[in-house]
């Protein structure tokens, strides 16, 4: 079967939507339904890898659909950053699917068909975001992503889920309608185009105040990047089933946010313009504050998922900082951090979910000694924590290294200190968890079960092992990732 | 000016009396009466503008050269019909309101509606 790269690109967006239909059609037969999901996620991964090969050979792949509004096409084009995002997303979708089959069945959740269907739409939207050729297309998929994940977040259907969903939708839809859309229309008005172009689309003599305001609108508008003060939706979304949280935090939603920020910084404003805008510095400090504050809040959380959520907010700040630094090191660091954080965070969430379904624990204080019961899970947790902190032998160190380089290059000393402190805080709030799980034997709430090993469902276990291995691989063999990240800036002008 | 516009000024007063009855009175029948006065006054206004000094009714006859303008007459014929149609419908509504609410006073009807809510 020889498909042109263009049709592969289109297929990778359409496939998940077709999958949705298939899932709904096969809703009554769980086995068939999940087989459909797995097969299509395999195909999607295959498509992404092929596209990646194409990109590596320097081919340019772009497709234009139809103009939604005059001169505003829905069109797609693959560049390295998008490719990177698409690869991560399609790979992790496969893993998450495997994981959720174990999780959902074990947990006996209701409405699983709705769950898988929305899941597939969400991935389709992510693909659309990753490959979008212009801001307009990106925005459309950005919104479909928000809406398709809403039923996932409120899956439980309880009063608490309703409240969480309210915040989730309120913040994401609110910021995107009020700020993001305004920023897009303003850009359209000022620059006359919305196409992503290396080096930006604004004229060199553009009024920097106006551009600066637009930048602020963008950063505030992209609520998915969870920059404080628009971060509330992330902890609120923790009411979702764990695979959803994993998806939100590692794969789809937050990554779509920071990805969009990177895209906007690089291809709408361009590094050169970005560095002279009057508001950049302010936004950098805001992101820095976000990093630090979120870490501090994370320390105070006893609920594991909530702690991980705040940790995510803090890590997203890193990526935003990298994008706003407007240096090559910063950009490389940011893009690599998308990948390394994705693997690290998804592992952590998988572990949290595994603990919940197996030991029915969600509070950190109750997890002492759990390592004896669930050694593989807790070991994976440990390695993933290292990746988030940025210590060998996990991939996180590389991205953090480049980010630090970026701050050094631009002599942003305060931010450098912020990053360092935050890493220390990471240690303080992540490492005690596996540590206590393995070594706090005195205060074991599991005394009656003894040390009998009772691990998570097999599917979940496989999934979390793979992502853990991924963390390590990213440390040992970061070359392809680095190449891809470097290629982002090397795109011919 | 006084003689030239006197007619129109009176018409304005008539219109406003009708308008006042519509918006200030609470009785549904009275409101429709007000509407009638309001509309009839507008008719008077139209007909006034059609008049020519020394003219006669626009029915062609020998020996007459000056006729009043027939167009406003035509318009007002239509408007009168519209007026009676509105009045009939309004009264029908008032009758039904009386049957279901037991009153044709605005305040009492509002009060009953508020109780329903």
């Amino acid at each position: 079967m020889t498909l042109s790269l263009e049709s592969m690109l289109q297929l990778s967006i359409i496939l998940p939507i077709l999958t949705t239909l298939a899932i709904v059609a096969t809703g009554n037969k769980p086995n068939l339904r999940e087989a459909v999901t797995i097969i299509s996620s395999l195909i999607l991964l295959y498509l992404s890898v092929n596209l990646y090969q194409g990109i590596k050979q320097g081919e340019s792949i772009s497709v234009t659909w139809w103009p939604l509004l005059p001169n505003l096409q829905i069109s797609f084009n693959i560049e390295p950053l998008g490719m990177l995002f698409a690869l991560i997303a399609s790979f992790l979708w496969l893993i998450t699917t495997v994981y959720s089959i174990g999780y959902m069945r074990h947990h006996e959740e209701q409405n699983q068909t709705q769950f898988y269907a929305c899941f597939a739409i969400a991935i389709g939207s992510v693909m659309g975001i990753a490959f979008a050729e212009n801001l307009f297309t990106l925005f459309i998929f950005y919104e479909t992503l928000t809406l398709s994940t809403y039923p996932l977040v409120t899956h439980a259907g309880t009063e608490k889920a309703k409240k969480g969903g309210r915040v989730y939708l309120g913040v994401l839809l609110g910021t995107s309608i009020v700020f993001f859309l305004l920023a897009i229309i303003s850009t359209w008005f000022v620059a006359g185009t919305l196409d992503f172009k290396p080096g930006g689309i604004f004229d060199s003599d553009v009024n920097t105040t106006v551009a600066g305001v637009i930048l602020v609108l963008f950063i505030f508008g992209i609520g998915k990047a969870a920059i404080m003060p628009f971060h509330r939706w992330l902890p609120a979304a923790m009411v979702a089933p764990t695979p959803v949280s994993a998806l939100l935090h590692a794969v789809a939603v937050v990554k779509a946010g920071v990805f969009t920020i990177l895209k906007v910084c690089l291809f709408i404003f361009g590094i050169d313009l970005l560095s002279i805008l009057p508001t950049t510095q302010f936004l950098l400090y805001l992101a820095g504050a976000s990093v630090l504050l979120a870490s501090l809040v994370a320390m105070r959380q006893d609920n594991l998922k909530a702690r991980l959520a705040y940790s995510t907010i803090s890590q997203l700040g890193y990526i935003t900082i990298g994008a706003l630094l407007a240096t090559s090191a910063g950009v490389i660091g940011s893009s690599m951090h998308i990948a390394t954080h994705a693997f690290g965070k998804i592992t952590l969430f998988f572990c949290a979910g595994a603990i919940l379904v197996t030991a029915h624990k969600s509070k950190i204080s109750e997890m002492r000694g759990l390592g004896l019961q669930m050694p593989i899970t807790m070991a994976a947790f440990f390695i993933a924590s290292l990746s988030i902190i940025g210590v060998p032998p996990a991939g996180g160190i590389w991205s953090k290294w480049f980010l630090l380089m970026g701050t050094l290059e631009t002599e942003q000393w305060i931010l450098m200190v912020v990053l360092m402190i935050s890493s220390l805080l990471n240690i303080a709030y992540l490492l005690p968890i596996p540590f206590h799980a393995f070594f706090s034997k005195n205060n074991i709430p599991f005394a009656n079960t003894g040390t009998k090993i009772k691990e998570a469902p097999l599917a979940s276990l496989i999934a979390l092992s793979i992502t853990t291995v991924g963390c390590v691989v990213l440390f040992v063999y970061p070359q392809p990732l680095y190449e891809l990240a470097k290629a982002i800036l090397a795109t011919p002008e | 000016m006084l003689m030239g516009l006197y007619n129109y000024w009176i018409v304005v007063v008539l219109m406003m009396v009708g308008f006042y009855i519509v918006i200030a009175h609470g009785n549904l029948i009275k409101k429709i009466v007000g509407l009638s006065i309001f509309q009839t006054s507008v008719f008077i206004f139209y007909i006034s503008m059609a008049k020519v000094d020394g003219g006669t009714a626009p029915i062609l006859a020998d020996g007459i050269t000056q006729y009043s303008n027939p167009l406003p007459h035509v318009l007002i014929l239509t408007a009168i019909v519209v007026g009676i149609a509105t009045t009939a419908l309004g009264l029908a509504l008032a009758v039904r309101i009386k049957e279901t609410y037991g009153s044709i006073e605005e305040e009492e009807i509002q009060k009953k509606d508020n109780l329903d809510c």
Binding site: L68, I140, E143, T158, E159, L173, L182, F189 | V22
Partner: protein, 492 residues
């Protein structure tokens, strides 16, 4: 026959209405009315096509040339409106037979269809005509039938709402009549085109100014422009569902059409916007309408009330686009005219389905409906998303142009306010979503099933139109642009 399309457009439903009395069974009357409305739709589509290819069509009634006779003058704007009205009417009628079974006593069914057709013909007549007084006559046809249709609602409050509407509507019509009289007095003509030529000579007079003010206020009453909107919520809430769906989509649109026609074509842009400070006036009224009505919508207990208030807010958007008075602004208004007709008819028709099954549209009755009537509720959700302005629905398209128009004029804070207004829409739409999906069904509603097929089909035709015209915007944008440009005197 093609040359007679303009008059057929109005005459067909107008003469079909009395014919209904000759049919005995209400099912037959329905089929007949549906056929007639479908024919009107076909005619309007042909008309639009004719206008798009060959420009303005003039039709002299009675063979008398204007200004002595009455002429129909179809340009892009009219043709667009005719299409909106006749298409919505047809789809809504499709659902009528089923819906009115439960809302209107059987012996009144034929009157219902007669009045419906008269109302349709009245609105088409207002839009098609090029004569100011003829506007008044057809305005009354459509209004009188509207009062009666609203009064057919089950609740006794429908009577009171219809009465209030009658009073307000008649005041509005009389104001318009006064305005037309003053214009006639200063120019001697009633033909709109002729007026637009003769008015500039006397534009400086106080009489013309007064005429303008009266026409505008009269239209705004019909338009339910904030703060003259008080008649609208109850009228929409207590009318039979079919009537609400039809009027919400068309009645206020016709008033907006009149506003545009009188300010742009008859009085002329330069006069209209200098005689009265329309820019700032309509901007302020539009924005306050958006906010006041959206906030009121949030607190409604009756979902029909809720969407009625939302309609007032949406009128605010159209008025803001109008107040910008640039080609883009007007285009945004026209697009929203079309798009809002699609949204609201879909939503109110879906409420009709709920009414059919439950017999009430109180918000509290929506508990658990997401499970019991999933297809209907999905329609309401999509309609709601469109109302919010989510991409890939029609609501997004019009909002996009509105913001663009506002930014083009440099009114940045207004853009922000408009977007904030959309957030309020999120709130009121989501109240329904949460009620339907996050609560268990009421015990009294346990046996509620999905709405019958005959209701779902028209609802989903409209919902699909909401999505289709949100994705393929060529038709609506092209027509709106052509209409807007021709009003500004630019040759498209």
């Amino acid at each position: 026959m093609l040359t007679h399309l303009p008059v057929l457009q109005v005459i067909v439903p107008l003469m079909a209405a009395p014919l209904c009395l000759f049919l005995t069974r209400s099912r037959l009357v329905w089929l007949f009315a549906l056929m007639v409305s479908g024919l009107a739709f076909l005619i309007s589509a042909l008309l639009l096509q004719q206008v798009m290819t060959s420009g303005i069509i003039i039709y002299e009634l009675g063979g008398w040339d204007a200004p002595w006779g009455i002429e129909y003058r179809i340009d892009h704007l009219n043709a667009f409106l005719l299409l909106i009205i006749s298409s919505v009417s047809t789809v809504v009628l499709l659902a009528a037979d089923t819906s009115i079974q439960k809302e209107i006593p059987a012996e009144k069914h034929s009157y219902f269809y007669i009045l419906y057709l008269l109302s349709l013909a009245g609105m088409l007549g207002i839009v098609a005509t090029g004569d100011a007084f003829n506007v008044f006559v057809f305005l009354e046809i459509s209004s009188l039938s509207a009062y009666a249709l609203i009064a057919l609602g089950k609740d006794r409050r429908a009577l009171w709402a219809a009465y209030q509407y009658l009073i307000m509507g008649t005041i509005g019509a009389t104001f318009i009549l006064i305005g037309i009289g003053l214009m006639y007095q200063m120019t001697g003509t009633l033909n709109m085109h002729d007026l637009s030529i003769r008015l500039p000579e006397v534009a400086h007079t106080r009489t013309v100014f007064t005429a303008f003010a009266f026409v505008i206020v009269g239209i705004c009453l019909k338009l339910a422009l904030f703060p003259l909107h008080l008649w609208l919520p109850n009228a929409y809430a207590y009318a039979p569902s079919i009537v609400t769906a039809f009027f919400a989509a068309t009645a206020t649109k016709v008033a907006i059409y009149l506003l545009i026609r009188f300010t742009f074509s008859v009085f002329g842009l330069s006069f209209s916007f200098t005689a009265l400070p329309l820019h700032i006036l309509f901007l302020v009224l539009g924005l306050s309408g958006i906010f006041a009505a959206s906030i009121a919508a949030i607190y409604q207990k009756n979902v029909k009330h809720l969407f009625a208030y939302s309609s007032i807010a949406q009128i605010g958007y159209m008025i803001v686009g109008f107040s910008v008075s640039t080609t883009t602004g007007l285009m945004a208004t026209l697009l929203h005219l079309f798009n809002h007709a699609l949204m609201k008819s879909a939503l109110f028709l879906a409420l009709g389905a709920v009414m059919y099954r439950i017999g009430s549209v109180q918000l509290s009755q929506f508990q658990g409906l997401g499970r019991q009537m999933p297809i209907t509720m999905a329609a309401i959700v999509i309609g709601g998303l469109s109302l919010i302005g989510v991409p890939l629905t029609v609501g997004f398209v019009s909002k996009w142009y509105l913001i663009l128009a506002v930014i083009e004029s440099g009114w940045w804070p207004v853009a922000l306010l408009i977007l904030l207004g959309s957030l309020l829409a999120v709130v009121y739409v989501w109240r329904i979503v949460e009620m339907a999906y996050f609560r268990p069904p009421l015990t009294s509603n346990e046996n509620i099933k999905e709405a019958p097929f005959s209701l779902l089909v028209p609802i989903w035709i409209l919902v699909m139109a909401n999505i289709y015209f949100g994705i393929d915007t060529r038709l609506s944008i092209e027509v709106a642009q052509a209409a807007s440009q021709s009003l500004f005197g630019v040759n498209p």
